[in-house]
């Protein structure tokens, strides 16, 4: 795997659930893309011992982190520290493309 790529090469869609693509993976870090079609959601969940962030590349979504809920668009950064419940729903009319990092990974 090259150390260089472009997010657009990894965008995709699944009718049944969030589309996920891996950009980089090690025991220290997972970097990937999550793509949500309009109406799709990632149910609130928690990662024990793992921090996670979302960076909104394209589209808009309703994010939940702990007891904070915010609508966020391109350029927004959303962080979910280990053990804090988080989720996202695409409430807009276009695809939501998120750069996602999780550390540590496995």
């Amino acid at each position: 795997m090259s150390n260089f790529t472009h997010f657009a090469e990894h965008v995709g869609a699944r009718p049944d659930k969030v589309y996920k693509s891996t950009l980089f993976e090690s025991g220290r870090l997972l970097l990937g893309l999550n793509c949500l079609e309009p109406g799709q959601a990632q149910a609130p969940h928690t990662h024990d011992g793992q921090d996670k962030f979302y960076f909104v590349i394209e589209g808009e979504g309703d994010f939940l982190v702990g007891d904070e809920a915010q609508h966020a668009g391109p350029g927004s950064v959303v962080c979910a520290p280990a053990g804090v419940e988080h989720g996202v729903k695409n409430t807009a009319g276009t695809r939501l493309v998120l750069l996602v990092g999780i550390a540590p990974w496995r």
Copy 2:
């Protein structure tokens, strides 16, 4: 610190070196912004035991990772695994804004 922010709130410039801003920090992950004015560079260096990625938000730069050198613009993802030398120079005429993650941190 809120779990929500926008990269534009953290952009800045220093005349003498790369401008760095922290978005999220734990023992597992550092997520930050690196801003390079035209002509500024981050000299090739290595992080032992830490993976690093750059996501180009705005501008363009010449990146080096190991023996790979590439010019990369908005939407590009550049990964530098632990122990692999990496650096970047802003060779364009506008500010280069990078989302940067390092894991683990500290």
